[in-house]
Symmetry: D2
Subunit: 445 residues, 4 copies
């Protein structure tokens, strides 16, 4: 069947990731012709947008595909009539991330971009901006798919499902990275593998790992096979624990299962190199130096060391499956609706889905270890309270959310952290600090 050409709007288009996304779109152009690519950013990100935008145009020209690259600060223009909208924005830029990491550590609590108090503040800053984007989509592109890559992706996706009519999916690179590791481990193609993921964003467990129909999970556990990412310290799992668990935890689960060691490690890393925000800041500066080079006509290798590997591949794969009715299995953040009966129906969960033209259809996990349910429920309770706090700006609910987080050791610490972090973020939290104008959608994730 003949399919129509596409319009894609990228909110936070000035991000250093954009060249990777470009590369993916160019590769799939024959199958999925993105005729109009709109890179949107805010005033504060204008320079980066221009640098990245020019590189994008050079890449398109080099590849010889008829893709138009539009650069704009006018979000509504970009969204109008779009088929897909992706978000890769960071409200408050790296400076805000830096605070999310530093303040908790000063209270002896994990300070991390998506996990713990840092993730909560990021959610409080981000949810209102994303819901604002949803209002535009509802008005200007009601049939568009919103593909959300903005962290904390689980909380953001849940907020969108609860407070908007936009068709949306949340996405993380980590399941794809595991799949690639599995395929490499057994020397097979990715499509010959089928790992089963159970959980929520950044808190999932692999509970089966099929390779050509045979479950290799026990073998992987025995081998100590694992995977991690640039942003999470790769401490080794206790082999007795993994065997008892009968599942492979997401690398983010180190913040829970190895809380003390991870915190100690964070503290010494902070003393040496600063936090992850500090490192990413340096990497980004180097990348934009490269992007400026008018001779550069393709994605530079160095981007692969940026972290967030496979994000763009995951994004393009999802768009492609929705566009072509591909019906392959992808691991996505979707509404629970009874799929995991021990979590609320309106929670977002991260599970395998079949992606058809009408959207992702979740597959029921075949096995959920009893021992993971308690932690999942506790973190999901924190997440749902955070959605409510982000939408209402109710400080009582925010306190309940912070105190409910398993990494926060007491109500007293929760209260101190909340007070200090709300204050540090006041320019980005109009719902809590009503006198402040909202700065939307900065570009670096």
């Amino acid at each position: 069947m003949q399919r129509k050409a596409l319009k894609l709007a990228v909110i936070g288009g000035g991000s250093s990731y954009t060249p990777e996304l470009l590369e993916g779109l160019i590769k799939r152009y024959a199958d999925m012709p993105v005729r109009e690519l709109w890179l949107v950013d805010i005033e504060a990100g204008k320079d980066k947008l221009n640098i990245v935008g020019e590189l994008a145009r050079r890449m398109v020209a080099q590849a010889g595909v008829p893709m138009e690259v539009h650069l704009t600060l006018n979000r509504r223009e970009a969204i109008a009539g779009a088929d897909f909208v992706t978000t890769q924005l960071r409200v408050g830029l790296l400076a805000a991330r830096r605070q999310d990491e530093h303040i908790p550590i000063a209270h002896d609590v994990i300070g991390q971009e998506t996990t713990g108090p840092g993730g909560m503040l990021k959610a409080l800053r981000t949810v209102p901006v994303i819901l604002d984007i949803c209002r535009d989509i509802e008005e200007l592109a009601p049939d568009a798919w919103l593909l959300n890559f903005t962290n904390p992706a689980g909380i953001v996706t849940e907020a969108v499902h609860k407070h908007s009519r936009v068709k949306s999916v949340g996405l993380c690179n980590s399941p794809l990275a595991f799949t690639k590791m599995l395929a490499a481990e057994y020397g097979v193609a990715e499509k010959e593998t089928l790992p089963e993921f159970v959980g929520i964003n950044h808190l999932h467990w692999v509970t089966a790992a099929y390779v050509n129909g045979e479950d290799k999970l026990q073998e992987l556990i025995a081998r100590g096979a694992s995977h991690t990412a640039a942003n999470v310290k790769a401490l080794d799992w206790d082999p007795d624990f993994l065997r008892a668990l009968g599942a492979i935890p997401s690398y983010y689960l180190r913040y829970y299962y190895m809380r003390d060691q991870m915190l100690a490690d964070m503290k010494s890393a902070l003393a040496a190199d600063g936090t992850r925000a500090d490192i990413v800041g340096r990497v980004e500066r180097e990348l934009f130096e490269l992007y400026r080079d008018p001779q550069l006509r393709e994605k530079p290798r160095q981007l692969e060391q940026r972290g967030g590997a496979y994000y763009s591949e995951a994004a393009v794969r999802l768009m492609h499956a929705l566009y072509t009715d591909r019906r392959d299995i992808q691991t996505l953040n979707v509404a629970n609706d009874g799929m995991l009966d021990f979590l609320p129906a309106d929670a977002s969960i991260e599970v395998n889905c079949v992606v058809a033209a009408q959207g992702p259809m979740p597959l029921r996990p075949q096995r959920v270890p009893e021992s993971i349910k308690g932690l999942l429920q506790a973190v999901k309770a924190y997440e749902s309270l955070t959605v409510e706090a982000a939408v209402t700006g109710d400080r009582d609910v925010a306190l309940l959310a912070m105190a409910a987080h398993p990494l926060v050791p007491s109500v007293a610490v929760a209260k101190a952290l909340l007070h200090e972090m709300l204050d540090a973020n006041r320019s980005y939290l109009p719902q809590f600090c009503g006198d402040i104008a909202l700065e939307t959608g900065a570009n670096d994730r």
Copy 2:
């Protein structure tokens, strides 16, 4: 990847359907090499087995594939080491079906092979035989898949899930027939369609009908598009009712929604031509005449008029997906496990599944009309009681099952029907009538 050659055991191999199955296996041989095909039957079906078996051998020779066709009365020999076991048996042969149809009609109740009192008695006869086969599989081929085509497929599948460790799936031709109708209606390939089925075997509703990602359901309802089968009278649906319902009912639902007309029609048909068993008996005699012809080397056209269209296609497609880890979407009978939260967790349901090497993974239906739940729950309650009655031989439970069936108008009629039908079937119901030896697995379905 290199895959091993297969052994397939067909219980009730002397059935008139076997040539269709053969045709399918031969077509797919390159992809799915069934090296050993074992056709099993019982002493009473020996002649038919030989006729069908010889035709099968001629078909294989004609096609030039290296498939060995074994004919045997020794079920255990056929099952030992099999990769797939299929069942297409009829306990009590057409004579029992005839009673299932005639006795209820004499009490002014729908008399049908799978629906109502007839279906219940067929279940009581069949479940013990299938569970006996499961015992053999557990012992002799514990990794084999049991593909159950024997009606009432929903009840039989539920009995297997509840009372055996065998990996099993239940299968019906009706969803495939709908898919083909949908593709034909829109002039597209089957794989461009995706109808969504919600319900249980012979009691499902189509609640969405995607064609290249667009839902054509309302359009189909407005057009009065429908489909039916040789064994169910194609009375027209009330268009107001279908519009109110917002779903397309399985043709078997005519027995409920048009009970009075269907019963009236059955009575006049019975007076004219006898019941469906009588008609099938004539068709089968003609088919076996054809099969006997040593010049016949392929499936005869006339088989297509037999009813049960696409059964073999559905069967071969399922085997193929399991064998090749195909991950396409098929509509199957599987354990509910919370997929339809208004039915018991251990009930069998009929829904879309992704079929991977490790088995079918059900997809959560996206919408379940409120108005179909009551009938589904009522019939499922009857089904679960029937499973219990079939396994225990408890007449009290059998009475509760019969009285629970929505087509049975009162306890008094239930009691009369049960008494008369148990008596008529006593040679096939050792669990109720303990003094009788069990006759297993006759061949015609």
Copy 3:
């Protein structure tokens, strides 16, 4: 503790039942001082209101309690500031009931006041009137309890819970009648018994029957002990069926379990004496003759033959427990909220409750026989659709409701019945027939 004097508003106060209610209020006056009794009726019921009201005043004078009896056609005046509001109204009076009974029987379907098509039409007439009353209560007496005795009490109660904020409970006399039968059977006081009821209004089963802590259910079943009411023909239960069931069905369940016999009996009764509406009409005329007698100063004996025995006792007992924080166990219609997990959370159910000052708290039934769930679910599905139809006036939903009722044999019959009955009731169904003014709250139940 000192409790305040009460104001009670009785909507449909001109009903022939009122003297029984009076008797109960007078008896409990010391414990529960109803200082103001407001009997409300509509213009069409003015004469009856006056007759009953005068009798009420004579009864109060005779008893020497300081209760003021107010008669009014102004509902808002009666409701303003009330502590309790009770409803005992019949929209369309006995003439409408007569149609509810006659029309279905002409189509070979059970014609009954609360069960089947008759009950559905009564619900369609009644729900809007009750919700109108709720609007008044929300405005004029937001802390009042609405005690709903108007049938079909389960549907009406569900409509109130779904579409109003009024605190309300539905009530039926039948559980109390069973309790009295049980106490009499064992020669003990009522409070020494504890029957357990599971189900919904007019469709419950007794699943335990404690007498001083010992469950006598099996014994009762073996004895054939049962109870019934003036309005339901007391055909004998099949003893084998009851034993298999392991529960005692409500007498209304005869319409389901003995559908054919009950229908046959209805037809011959209709030929002989007319339907129940005809009989009640004659009884009421006789009662009002008696009430007119200025010498009558107490409830006449003859009222006890009217049917609806113990209604007033049940009503007064409920008010008394709410008023005195009594915490005794009463069987009431309340929101399900997960108490019966096989029915929707927002359904009304009829179960044992502890009645404290803040309201009834349902007790989880200890055992629910599997064999009753299917019928309960099917009838509840009909009820929930009926609530929706009554509130929206959507004919499509009304057709789904009628077709969903287990006593309606086909969609064709459902459609014919619906058409004929909506037409016959058009003056009482403004939501379906928008051009018609609504006649509210007539007085005879």
Copy 4:
């Protein structure tokens, strides 16, 4: 009605609590004649049994009731034919408790009798002994009620429900203490109050506090009203947090909500006075000095300072309600069965129940704050894993349980604690350390 005289077996009868129980039984003798009281203990507790037993006999003589007090080391003799069996035993005596408290604190983890690692080890020691008692009851007194007061009462009750057919209830004094505080606060009788408890043993929240039908919860929160017990340090709740929560937490919840302060406090208390076990040891020695006095003929005042206030009152009240079919509301540990739909069906929960002769019937809580669910689910997950570990002796499951506890900061700490504590308890853990004979049922709780 005439009720039969009773036999009561008290396992761990040599406990210092026994005189309080005696006092309660004597007071209620007229209503609930315990004719035979059997105090059972083990060889190691023989001396205490004799001291307490002699005091019991003097108390009975003084009161002039015809109660026979039997002292025995033969548990089976005591249980045979009993109507009630109560357990107030401590496996490993105070020495084991001392380890439960000391070892975790050395790892910077809360060390407490029922909460955290200490509670887990107490469960591992206690569950096998209680299940052993259940075996005796099943054989020798199948109709008896087992009233379990042995901590951790929630886990022990869940183990009994999962692994025995004995009718049993778990009991804690803390809800009764709250009720008394509430009545005192408002100057009303206990029966005029109705606090609503939601949760599990030692982890409940008060979500409503009715006084004569009016909910005083917000008022209590605003006043900072609270209650505590001798064994839990009464740190003040954060008023902002309580207001946000909208519920009053059990005093045991301080270990979670104030983890850091409670731990700090424990450490300094340990340095000063030792742990609670050390204190209780001193109190007990003093009590037994008093009990020895042949002039003592009633419960000494000093016992009230022992901690566990109202335990005996709660126990006698429960027995009395079961015996007299009283149907009052008591807060008990019972099987969940869907009452709290966010916890497993087979979990034990602590909620209000109506206590009738046939047993306690749970009342559905009217409101469950979202913010308490996550913690409840996490702790219940730990509890259910602990039951499994206690019954199977599987060290993998024990590790999962320990790591699942919200107060344990990492898998590494969980592993270290488990190793050290299993080793310290090896004489009481035959299921883990198979070579060791089981010491059963010591007497002091």
